[in-house]
């Protein structure tokens, strides 16, 4: 009997890393969060780390949904509290690798305090902050990262508040590793995530990502891919640049690269040492 050659079902290399039963995802066409997720998945693949020991925590918002698509133990928590929740996980079981993926509004606005203090304590977390300059999930409100004078629904006459500089805040608070890439720097981003992952202490990777639905539409900046390319073409790689110079102006060049890489004692080390001393006394 003649056999018919059928196309064999092939496994995508990321199948093991993503919850394929949840695809299609909720993100809009042209969104940069997908890139961040695949870079992250790529990083996990490169790391060859035991995925059972990896935990992903995210907050609320578009990027907050990432946890739901990564096939590790994953938590989708409350708005802004992903880092606090992750702190509990890390201290509860120090053997785990805990990764927080969330948006700019979640991490820097409402979660700003947890961001600052986790960096200060130097809790061993890797934070991936997807910065799309806007609150996208709620329909395009002004975020602390929105450049001047971008239009949003709650800055209907143009934003006038100075935007936050995420790498600078991270550095000032005490993060040990800080990098920034745009959503199209896929390989560099993945490498950065690998580095951050391996660094003991609080590490931050910022991903500049387009919001095709709100930020772009309100400001008439084209579709998601246009913006992604714009960010990519207008980025300048400057490793070790002083974080003072990392402000992002509206539709101007974006400095990317690895800015901070240093060592500080992590929280759990200090705690254990203190407990030991306490015991001796």
């Amino acid at each position: 009997m003649e056999t018919i050659n059928t196309i064999q079902e092939q496994k995508h290399p990321m199948d093991d890393l993503l919850r394929m039963d949840r695809i299609p995802h909720i993100w809009c066409p042209g969104c940069g969060i997908g890139n961040a997720v695949s870079a992250f998945a790529e990083a996990l693949r490169k790391l060859e780390y035991d995925l059972d020991k990896v935990v992903v925590v995210s907050g609320i918002g578009c990027t907050g949904r990432v946890a739901g698509y990564i096939k590790t133990d994953s938590f989708h928590t409350t708005h802004g509290r992903a880092i606090a929740f992750a702190t509990g996980i890390k201290l509860g079981n120090p053997d785990l690798k805990v990764i927080v993926i969330s948006g700019d509004g979640d991490l820097v606005s409402i979660g700003g305090n947890h961001f600052v203090h986790a960096a200060r304590r130097n809790i061993d977390l890797t934070v991936i902050c997807v910065n799309n300059f806007i609150y996208a999930m709620t329909g395009g409100q002004v975020a602390p990262t929105t450049p001047i004078p971008a239009y949003t629904t709650t800055s209907p006459f143009g934003n006038f508040e100075a935007p936050a500089n995420v790498p600078q805040l991270a550095e000032a608070a005490g993060a040990v590793y800080v990098a920034r890439w745009t959503a199209l720097h896929m390989r560099r981003l993945a490498d950065s995530i690998v580095e951050a992952f391996n660094r003991p202490g609080f590490s931050v990777v910022e991903v500049i990502s387009p919001c095709a639905m709100y930020y772009s539409r309100i400001n008439k900046l084209g579709d998601g891919l246009d913006m992604m390319q714009f960010y990519y073409n207008n980025s300048i790689i400057r490793h070790g640049e002083s974080t003072d110079n990392l402000n992002i102006d509206y539709q101007k060049e974006i400095i990317v690269g690895k800015f901070v890489d240093r060592e500080r004692p992590a929280f759990s080390e200090s705690l254990n040492e203190w407990l030991r001393k306490d015991q001796v006394e």
């Binding site: 938590f75 606090a84 929740f85 509860g92």
Partner: protein, 372 residues
């Protein structure tokens, strides 16, 4: 041992391995005791930047397999409201100790209060049921803290312990039994095959799903959004019904098993004094004084404030004329008593009874008044 210390010891005896806190008066006695015992018990602790993150960290720690505790007071408890909701939604067992102080907002931090009782039940948005315990002596601080951990593990819910600074500072002998004699409910773990785990597939008998720890390879996902059995978000009213109805009923239907109370002199009583926490000590004195005067007074104490012993109150109401409900607030539990008495017995609330702690005058007066 003081009440604070008894609480910390109770937590450690129940196997609590994590404390997340932010310093706030007057809850700090518990923290101090807990921290000094950390090195020998292997427990860990973290002082977070605010109460919001304290409870968030506690919820995170629980999923690593530890039992976890947070302690707070007054406004700190108010800050925790959002995460009580998350704890309920994720069905995360944890214990929250709230040292109630007097007054709204900052009130009078070192004075006992009772204004957070309804807050413990209703404070977070959305519908849920919760368990709240109210000890009235250092010994009971110990016992009920252990019980709180048991209940939280059994029903997979945050459990609140409500007490106040007077009980916290009160020194009394506390009997801590041997470790082997302390019975704590074990967490209900999933034991089936790895790919068959569904985080919110509940047992028809008790409506409680089983848990797994992080890092055991189940690769589960949980979310504060309304979710299905898999833990994945589903945004429709059927799924919402599926969640909320069960969250409410997993406690409501088993209230009889959870409820703990103490009764005295209630047979043939005309007046029943319903109280909880520190006030109950004075209530008992007042009841006994009234009985000496020949008034048939009975004593009823809530050890679990929530769920409320509805049935028992209704039964008592049928046999008495009036309830007297002394509280350190302007009427909270007295409303519940009124509801459950179903018009069979009147209710006299004694407001702010505790500003006279140690002298049950106002309670006694209220009892005497009912007799006229």
């Amino acid at each position: 041992m003081s009440g604070y210390e008894a609480c910390a010891e109770g937590a450690l005896a129940a196997g609590c391995g994590f404390l997340g806190y932010t310093p706030i008066q007057p809850s700090f006695g518990i923290v101090r005791r807990f921290i000094t015992r950390c090195a020998e018990t292997g427990a860990t602790f973290v002082q977070m930047e605010d109460e919001i993150s304290s409870l968030a960290a506690v919820l995170g720690a629980v999923w690593t397999g530890r039992k976890a505790l947070t302690v707070t007071s007054g406004q700190g408890f108010a800050q925790m409201m959002e995460h009580i909701g998350l704890g309920v939604m994720l069905e995360t067992p944890c214990v929250i100790v709230n040292v109630m102080h007097d007054g709204a907002s900052e009130g009078i931090p070192s004075m006992p209060g009772g204004g957070d009782v309804m807050q413990a039940r209703w404070g977070s948005h959305g519908d849920y049921e919760i368990i709240a315990l109210a000890p009235n002596s250092p010994q009971e601080m110990f016992d009920l803290t252990v019980e709180a951990f048991s209940l939280s593990e059994r029903y997979r819910t945050p459990v609140v312990i409500l007490f106040d600074p007077v009980l916290g500072r009160m020194k009394d002998s506390v009997n801590i039994p041997e470790a082997a004699k302390i019975r704590v409910e074990k967490r209900k773990y999933y034991k089936g095959p790895k790919d068959g785990y569904l985080p919110y597939k509940y047992d028809e008998k008790d409506l409680i799903p089983s848990m797994v720890d992080i890092s055991q390879g189940y690769r589960f996902h949980v979310t504060g959004l309304t979710h299905d059995e898999k833990g994945y978000p589903v945004m429709n009213d059927e799924c919402q019904e599926w969640n909320v109805h069960r969250l409410v009923n997993k406690i409501r239907l088993f209230a009889d098993k959870i409820v703990r109370m103490e009764e005295k002199y209630l047979e043939e009583a005309d007046v029943a004094v319903v109280s909880y926490g520190v006030v109950s000590r004075d209530a008992l004195t007042a009841v006994e004084a009234a009985r000496k005067e020949g008034i048939k007074a009975g004593y009823f104490r809530l050890q679990t404030v929530w769920p409320f012993p509805e049935k028992r109150i209704a039964e008592i109401a049928a046999g008495i004329k009036r309830f007297v409900v002394p509280e350190i607030n302007f009427g909270q539990i007295s409303l519940e008593v009124e509801r459950c008495s179903r018009g069979r017995a009147g209710v006299d609330a004694v407001y702010h009874a505790a500003r006279e702690v140690g002298k049950p005058g106002s309670i006694l007066k209220a009892i005497q008044k009912t007799n006229k």
